[in-house]
């Protein structure tokens, strides 16, 4: 599926961060982008929308990225959904935990469109 036909869900509690990720995704020709401000909002979105890719922050109030990942993997309809975890350099070590919870891949802040594209290449067949 071409990027422009995919629906991406950005999950981050920080609005500016969502804007940035959105901008970078747009640079990669993504057109359908939905935002959620934490894991539980993302769960709501998932229940009503067909999502092809999740780009989620780790550290969020209410429901963290890891909890969201576990939820996504536990649901029949989303268990294979490409899930890209955004993490900070300092918290990178935690990624092993996310890998055990079957994260598709992760990306360290800050990143460029090129880095994101490279990561996406590993998890979504273009």
């Amino acid at each position: 599926m071409a990027y422009k036909d995919m629906t991406v869900l950005i999950v981050d509690d920080f609005l500016t961060m969502r804007r940035i990720v959105r901008k970078i995704l747009r640079d990669l020709q993504f057109e359908n982008i939905i935002e959620a401000e934490d894991g539980s909002a993302a769960v709501e979105v998932l229940s009503t929308n067909k999502i092809d890719l999740i780009v989620s922050d780790w550290n969020m109030p209410k429901m963290t990225g890891l909890e969201l990942l576990k939820y996504v993997r536990s649901q029949e309809s989303t268990k294979d959904l490409p899930f890209l975890m955004v993490t900070a350099e300092a918290q990178k070590e935690n990624i092993v935990e996310a890998v055990k919870a079957k994260v598709s891949n992760y990306i360290v802040k800050p990143f460029t469109a090129a880095i994101l594209e490279e990561k996406l290449g590993k998890i979504v067949p273009k």
Binding site: F14, V45, E89
Partner: protein, 750 residues
């Protein structure tokens, strides 16, 4: 054991980038470890595998291809058992010494991480930077990323947003720090303080604000240590965090004023000094902050030194590039304790000048007690013996007492009141974001922002307000070209206004969008089974349907409504607050949502009614009208029970005396009094004996035991000291509906 090994053997990892495959494998390794027969040689293989996987995951392999190759060998060794040549080799190797790589083989020089493997959560150590070999590598990578990011994201709009949002988050920090001051182990509060720094750091990284990034990063580290209980939250940490917040605020303001370049220069002295302080942090270190007000003046006030000396040392500290406090300590003029005391005072004076922060529970108690006082007063003054006192002096004094308690009540209530402005202002941003997202042009106008509302209510109304504004932007305002072709201005307007009316606050949200389409809503409601095709509903009742759970007139779920929370949530919220909600709309012209909420949750405006020997309180907000019907407007309908006809509308009659099991004064509705209430789509008449009066009462909850009681939402003490129960209209109606349902089997016309 065998099956786990077999699973491990069958586990396909497509390559070093296949994290999901690696994840499965790691989980299997965890399983394996728990099985019986897990041998020492196996343990070593598992240990090495974990280490290699971790390096592959974190992209910290010195030689990725080698690591990948090795992992595959180890895996097959594990699943095939010892016979495998490679496995033997592996055991020998590993046995050499705590995973020290064997010399010789064509393997690059690598340094193995020293910490235990794969233990998640052990991240704080790595954050100090130098300890982790992967860090230098990664940092280089991110600085490369930085260069290209620089051009991509220098969007003034984005920067503006960042500044605004960061400031908002910083404002929340102070409050949470206060919570930490009272309970240093409040992990939720630590998290709430940690998160903004973390987010600000993240975005600053993208936007290449090195100083902000650096500063927030250091504080984040510190808080992370506190979070993992490595250090205790004490005054020193609180000081650091607050100072960092202040510095960040200043930096953000500078950014806002367009001083973009200043930020990018290498660390300014203030930040450098601060970072130094964080680095040297220990609980005993002197707390030297960044003065906002003059520390010297405070010290002079304390009599530590005179003002002339303050000036002198201030000069000296400037030359040295130090803070005054530091110079004073260094010169031995003031002790660390004195300086830190002055600094703390400095911080507090800022707050006390404008306001004092008080725990809301104390405030609630005060309001509660004042409520009791008012009641106690009227109990005394209405005592028959006291009423008999005709002495003039007494009469005058009791009027005075009344005045004072009334004023006291007003003041104590007002202490919990805050202007609704802040809540309204949050909508500006929301509208801007939403309209941009949807390509609409929307103006948000506000009126009556200074209207005050109970602090507890402010938080409660935020969410319904957001949903209604979202709804207006999403469903109400049309796209510019649609508006132009409808003969309207291309830009739509949403007006939110607040006003105090009696004991209520009325919030109106008006938009000049396309309005609600009665036919469409009706059709949808029938389709969704909310109503049946034969139901006769007036326009108003149809508008009400949009508050029905799961109702949406839009087929396509947009990003906005995709949040999955509809107007039904708004309604529930409003009901919980004992409020009312009304919609009016003209198709093509716009919609008008009105929220009517009590000013406070602590007091309600109630109608005191008499039913038999008991008095009850009906919240005035629930009442539409009260009337005494004519004899011929009362009749009984087959299968529907008793009805009263009020202006051509049939309303079910609900006998309160039956509900409360009282012997009423009047059995006939034309003798008693009917209270008309709206519930759901219908109106009902509640039969009472008479209305005693209208009164503001302080709500007392009934306590845990009675929480489940239907039809009663609380109690209140009346003027004469007797207790009256507060009627929960919704509960009574639903009980009534349930019983008529059971009794007649048929309730609705269909």
């Amino acid at each position: 054991m065998e099956t786990t090994l077999a699973q491990l053997g069958n586990q396909v990892i497509e390559g070093p980038d296949d994290l999901m495959g690696i994840g499965d494998c790691l989980n299997l390794l965890d399983d394996l470890e728990k099985k019986d027969g897990f041998s020492q040689p196996m343990a070593k293989r598992v240990q090495e595998l974990r280490l290699i996987f971790k390096r592959l995951i974190l992209e910290e392999s010195p030689d990725r291809a080698w690591d990948w190759d090795r992992a595959q060998k180890l895996l097959s060794g594990l699943s095939n058992g010892k016979e495998d040549d490679d496995a033997e080799e592996c055991v020998d190797e590993v046995e050499m010494e705590a995973l020290e790589p064997a010399a010789g083989e064509d393997r690059p020089e690598i340094s193995w991480p020293e910490d235990d493997m794969g233990a998640p959560g052990e991240n704080a150590d790595a954050e100090s930077g130098a300890a982790d070999p992967g860090n230098a590598f990664a940092e280089k990578k991110s600085s490369e990323a930085q260069d290209s990011l620089d051009n991509e994201l220098q969007d003034p709009e984005l920067i503006k947003e960042f500044i605004e949002e960061s400031k908002e988050h910083l404002a929340s920090i102070e409050l949470n720090m206060l919570a930490l001051e009272t309970d240093p182990n409040d992990s939720e509060a630590i998290n709430a303080v940690f998160r903004p720094f973390h987010s600000i750091k993240g975005v600053a990284g993208f936007l290449n604000f090195t100083e902000i990034h650096h500063l927030s990063h250091e504080v984040e580290n510190l808080l992370d240590m506190a979070r993992s209980n490595k250090i205790a939250v004490d005054d020193a940490i609180i000081d650091i965090v607050l100072t960092a917040t202040d510095i960040l605020k200043v930096m953000l303001t500078e950014l806002e004023e367009g001083d973009n370049e200043a930020e990018k220069k290498s660390c300014s002295p203030i930040v450098a000094q601060f970072l130094e302080r964080v680095k040297n942090f220990s609980s005993d270190s002197p707390t030297v902050g960044i003065p906002v007000r003059k520390v010297g003046a405070i010290l002079a006030e304390h009599g530590v030194l005179d003002e002339a000396a303050v000036d002198e040392f201030a000069e000296m500290s400037k030359i040295k590039g130090q803070k005054l406090g530091e110079t004073l300590i260094e010169e031995g003029v003031a002790s660390t304790r004195e300086v830190s005391k002055a600094l703390r005072e400095q911080r507090h004076t800022v707050e006390s000048a404008a306001s004092v922060r008080v725990d809301t529970r104390k405030l609630d108690n005060l309001v509660d007690m004042v409520g009791e006082l008012v009641i106690a007063q009227s109990m005394v003054l209405q005592n028959p013996d006291v009423l008999d006192i005709k002495e003039q002096k007494f009469q005058k004094d009791s009027v005075q007492l009344n005045r004072i308690t009334a004023e006291l009540q007003r003041i104590s209530m007002s202490m919990r009141m805050v202007p609704i402005k802040a809540t309204f202002q949050k909508m500006i941003r929301l509208v801007r974001d939403l309209s941009k997202k949807e390509g609409k042009d929307v103006n948000l106008e506000m009126k009556g922002e200074d209207t005050e509302i109970d602090r507890n209510m402010v938080e409660e109304i935020y969410e319904p307000l957001v949903h209604m504004i979202r709804n207006s932007v999403d469903h109400g305002i049309e796209l510019p070209h649609e508006r132009t072709s409808a003969g309207k201005e291309p830009s739509g307007t949403i007006l939110i206004s607040a006003e105090q009316k009696g004991g209520n606050i009325v919030i109106d949200i008006r938009d000049d969008g396309k309005g609600l389409d009665v036919d469409k809503i009706r059709a949808k409601a029938i389709e969704r089974g909310v109503i049946s095709a034969t139901d006769q509903l007036d326009d108003k009742a149809i508008f009400e349907l949009i508050f029905h759970a799961g109702f949406s007139t839009r087929d396509k779920v947009t990003e906005v409504s995709g949040r999955g929370v509809g107007m039904d949530v708004v309604k529930k919220c409003v009901e919980r607050l004992r409020g009312k909600m009304e919609v009016t709309s003209v198709l093509g012209k716009g919609s008008h949502f009105q929220l009517k909420l009590p000013l406070t949750m602590a007091i309600i405006d109630g109608m005191v009614i008499q039913v038999g020997t008991e008095r009850f309180i009906v919240p005035t907000i629930a009442l539409k009208e009260s009337l005494r019907p004519k004899r011929d407007s009362y009749f009984t309908l087959q299968g529907k029970g008793e009805m009263v006809k009020v202006r051509d509308l049939l309303m079910p009659l609900v006998r309160l005396h039956t509900f409360f099991d009282e012997e009423p004064k009047y059995h006939n509705p034309w003798e008693g009094l009917l209270l008309v209430v709206n519930e759901g789509k219908k109106s009902y008449c509640l039969l009472a004996d008479e209305i005693v009066g209208r009164q503001e009462v302080v709500i007392k909850s009934l306590g845990g035991m009675f929480r489940q009681l239907r039809g009663i939402s609380g109690g209140a003490i009346l003027g004469d000291g007797k207790v009256a129960l507060i009627v929960d209209v919704k509960g009574i109606i639903s009980t009534y509906e349930d019983s008529t349902n059971d009794g007649s089997g048929r309730r609705r016309l269909d």
